[in-house]
Each structure stands twice: as structure tokens, then as C-alpha cells.
Amino acid sequence: MSTVTLFSVSYDLSTVIARGVASVFPQPIHGWILSSDVVLGFAILFFAIILLAASMINTIMLIWWERKLLGRFMDRRGAMHVGYAGLLQNFADGFKLFRKFTVRPREADSAGFYFGPTAYMATSLIIFGVLPISTGWNGGTLPLTLLLALVIFSFAPLFIFVSAWSSNNKYSLMGGMRSAAQMIAYEVPILLAVVAVVIVAGSFDLTTIVYEQQNYWFWGPLVVALIVFVAGMLAEMERIPFDLPEAEAELVEGWNTEYGGMLFAFFMLADYLRGLVGSFLVVLLFLGGWTLPTWVPSSLTSFPLAGIVIFMVKTYLVFGLFVWVRASLPRVRTDQLLRVGWNRMIPLSLLAIFLAAVLVTVKCLPLFGCVPSPGV
């Protein structure tokens, strides 16, 4: 693995710029700019900007990926006009939304109306600060990154409900209610499924979980947990078949009915940010993160930034699975969704925990053709 990390890149960038800027100024200011505190401060700023830009670009490319894949599922091509094969189409769409006037209904509550989408967007972005993409390419080395990511991830129903309620629209309100009920119902199985992973990996730190998977990926032994996690993630991301909060046929656009322009773009982007986070988590927890199976010759993976490339390819493939589900399954009903959530998913996730515990105690992981790492 290369030793270049996200922080080293931003620190180097900060140093170079600081030198350039400092050369203009006379001594006292020159020295202050070059002092380690200032450089570090700017390094953190660049760090954040790089994260922000990377996550936004990836989100927009994810929308492109979904449009193209969905197009082929539907026997058509998807976006074709702006850029090569429509690569820049979503940037154009975003720019159009950005230019549009934001309309607020007169009866809507101003504070909640603007706070909701902004906070939804912000919390979705914060998660990227704790998700590792490759060795060293993460925000911090906290011991509980997985837990932190899931906690931030579960803020969303609150903000959706706030924005839905303050829109003062019946459809929005119903969509918001459904959204809150659905997300809360599916938090539980997701967390329980994650517990199964944590039992096997022995850590809440995502980097450690990935290192535990260097010899074998968890999807084989923990297939029950994987199913629960993917289904729960579909519900959390509000994608078909669980997209009832914005069920187009009956609720117009659900909780974002009243939003237009940039605020709508916030919702749209945040939805796909959460889609990206969901795919990241599936890759990190079950598909070995940025590692490849041991039988892949290491000469193939020795190019610079190989970890990031492997990780992103896996992420996009996982998202392709979500698109596939979207292309072939209809939407379920609220009561069915909640019944499945509470009656099926939670027992299944408890079963997953039990299986994980059995796997660890009986030490039968080698049965899956994998050599347990020393940690287990």
C-alpha cells in the first residue's frame, strides 16, 4: 500500500500554498504564516474541501451510474447528450436547479422549511468524515467509527419530518410520517446486523473490520446479516421497493412535494449521498473494503491508489445491485413494510447475531475456505 494518505495530501498542499503566500509578505507575517499551527489549520480546511468535493462528485456520478444502468434495464440508453455518454448531464441538471428560484409556500413555516433540507444535507455529508476509503484515506482514527457513522446516519428521519411538517402540505406530512416510521423501524435490524459483523471482527472501527477481512470476506459466513443489512439499507435510502415516503403514485413526491430549486437539489443529493454511504458500508462490512481476495496476484494491485480504485469499483457494483432491485420490484405498502421490518427483519438479525456468535465460539470460519486472522 502506498503511504500517501488523505491528510498527507492536504498537509502538503497547505504547505505549498503557505510558502507561496508567505513569500509575498515581510518577516513577522511571513513567519506566522509558515508556523505549524496555521499550516495545520489550512491543512484541515483542505482536507474538508477535498472530502466534500470527492463525495459530491461521487454522488453525482452515482446518479449518472443509476441513470445509465436503469436505462439498460429498461431497454433504453439513459442520458446521452451532455458530455460523453451523458457523463456531465447531472452537473447540468444540478446547475439548472441551482439557478432556479426557491419557492416557499406562504403558509409554510420558514425556519423548518429551510432548516430541514440543509440539516439533512449536512448530516449526510458528515458521515464521509468517518468512513475510510483506503488505508489512511479517512477522517480520523476513532475507535468507534462504525457506530458514529450509523448514529449520524439515523439523524435523517428527524430532519425529514421537520421539513415535511413545516411544508404545510398534506402529502408532505403523510410522506414525512411514513419516512419517520420506516426509518426508525429499519434502524433496529440494521444495527443488529452490524452487531453480527462486530462480533466476528471484534471491533467497531471500520478500518479494523476491513483488515479482519483481508483473508476472507464476511459476506460468506454472515450471509443472513448481509441480507438484513441490504434490505434495511434499501429502506433507509428510501429506494424502491421501500420508497413509500416519496411514493410517486399516491403522494406526489412525498415529503419533498413543496420543495423546488436548490432545496430540492439538496434532498436529491442527500438521498444519493445516503445511497453512497449505504454502498460504502456494505462494501466495508461485508465485501472486504479495499482489499482483494488473496488469490488475486498482488502484481495486479500494486498501482498507485489501488485501494481507492478497488473500493470505488466495489461500491458502484453494490449500488448497481440496488438499481437492479429498483428495476424489477414494485413498491410495498406501509403496513407490509413495517410488518416485514418488525416481524421478519428483527428475528432474522437476531438469528444473524446468533450465527455470528456460534461461528466465533466454535471457530468454524475456516469451513468457508478462509484462514482466520489472528484477531479472531
Partner: protein
């Protein structure tokens, strides 16, 4: 009854299969359309071009549009001004009243030549006008794009339709079969005053004014004051436009079956 799937199976028996089946169908379609989707990139690739038509081949075997799909399309009109006889039939037959007869240069000053001008803002492309046209000079072409940013540009003058005609687009060959025995123009002789209006305005010149004998004055009756001529219609040349009926000042011409 209808399908093998329904009759026996009940949902929920085998959840994995019941989710996997639609997903497998979608995946099969994905595999098919991955290299050959059923769409074309419209403004750049057009179905009327055989090259692209074969590219999209939805059905196995033959491409879409075999036969006369394109030639039969009822699109924007083309007008051959030189053969137009100004019979007004197109304007009469238009259900939307979007055809107006406007003067075009080339007629004699007393009887200016009039050709149809079509307002495509109203036109419903029903094809009644080209069906009614006796000379085949107003035809529908396969041109299906007709969009402008101004309403005034939707009005196509005869000259503009002549330009379309000169592009030699494929013309719609379908023509309404003409009924075998059409109604003819009949005359109620006592009403006629021999004024020549019908013969003057007949677009095909099929009406000739023939002399009729001036009756002898009976005692106690006056001979009516009129020109002693009567129109005679040549049915084989007549296009049944009804112009003569509409210009007759005495309302003495009408439709009927010639005995």
C-alpha cells in the same frame, strides 16, 4: 387460467424464488439491451433513415418499419401550385377550418388564382383536404417535425408549401377511393336567369352556357326577363367542388343524381 405462474402458486410460499423471478427477467432484458437497446438518439439518428432503422430492431428478424410505414405518414402538406385549380375543396373539407384560400400571383386580374394557406396551429393532420383534392396537388408528406417559437410561423403560405413540394419528400400515396356514382350538379330550370356566374367561376371550366329557345309569350303572361342560356355540366370533368352552387345568385343549382 391465463398463465402457468398463477394457477397453482400462491405468493409467499417461496420468497426467494418470488423475488428472484422478476429480477431474473429484468436481468435478461439488461443483457439483451446492454449492447443493443431499442432506442435511437433521436435528433441525430432518425428512423426514416434505414441505417438507424435496422439498428434498433425490436422484433427479431426484421427491423421496424418494413413496408410503407414512412410513405403513408400524414405530415406537413406539400402543394403544387401549378396544378392547383382553386376549387376550394380542401378548405371546404377541413374539419378545423384551418385552410384559407389566398391569392397567389399568376392568375388573371379579374379572377385571381387562389391556393390554400394552412394554419398548422389548428390543423389536426386528418388528411381530409388531400383526400378531397381532385387534382392531387395538395398532398401530405412524411415530414413530421413542425415546431416554431412563433405562432405566426405556424401559418404556411402556398409558396412555403410549394417549397416543401420541391424538396421531393415521399408523398402519402393513400388516396380516398372515390365513390362510383357521385352526386352531380343539377339545375332547377325555372329559377335560372342565365347569368353565367357558375360557368365563370367553375375551376375546371366544365360548365358551358348553352342557348335555350325563348318561349313564345302566352296570352296574359309576360315572358320573364332573362338571358336565354342555361348551364350544362360535363360530369366527367366536374370535380364536385360546389363552387357553382355557392356563387349562384338564384339558388337554382343543387346536388342530385342525374337521371
Amino acid at each position: 387460467m391465463a398463465s402457468e405462474i398463477t394457477a397453482k402458486e400462491k405468493p409467499g410460499e417461496n420468497p426467494i424464488l418470488w423475488v428472484a423471478r422478476p429480477m431474473a427477467t429484468a436481468a435478461r432484458q439488461f443483457g439483451k439491451s446492454l449492447f443493443r437497446p431499442s432506442t435511437i438518439i433521436y435528433p441525430y439518428e432518425r428512423l426514416e433513415d434505414p441505417k438507424f432503422r435496422e439498428k434498433v430492431a425490436v422484433a427479431p428478424g426484421k427491423p421496424i418499419g418494413v413496408g410503407q410505414v414512412w410513405d403513408n405518414y400524414r405530415g406537413v402538406h406539400a402543394l403544387n401550385i401549378s396544378t392547383c385549380i382553386s376549387c376550394n375543396l380542401c378548405a371546404f373539407s377541413c374539419p378545423d377550418l384551418c385552410i384559407e384560400m389566398v391569392t397567389v400571383p399568376g392568375g388573371d386580374p379579374k379572377h385571381p388564382k387562389k391556393c390554400p394557406q394552412i394554419d398548422y396551429g389548428k390543423c389536426s393532420y386528418c388528411g381530409f383536404c388531400s383526400d378531397a383534392c381532385p387534382e392531387g396537388c395538395l398532398t401530405m408528406t412524411t415530414r413530421y417535425e413542425n415546431s416554431t417559437s412563433k405562432r405566426s410561423e405556424m401559418v404556411f403560405s402556398p409558396q412555403r408549401m410549394l417549397e416543401i413540394y420541391q424538396h421531393k419528400l415521399p408523398m402519402n400515396p393513400i388516396r380516398l377511393a372515390r365513390p362510383a356514382n357521385e352526386d352531380s350538379i343539377l339545375l332547377e330550370p325555372p329559377l335560372c336567369i342565365g347569368c353565367n356566374a357558375c360557368a365563370r367561376d367553375c375551376p375546371t371550366q366544365c360548365i358551358t352556357m348553352l342557348d335555350i329557345p325563348k318561349p313564345e309569350a302566352k296570352p296574359g303572361e309576360k315572358v320573364p326577363k332573362r338571358i336565354w342560356k342555361e348551364p350544362v355540366v360535363n360530369d366527367s370533368d366536374c370535380v364536385r367542388c360546389g363552387t357553382c352552387i355557392s356563387v349562384c345568385p338564384k339558388e337554382c343549382l343543387f346536388w342530385g343524381t342525374r337521371k
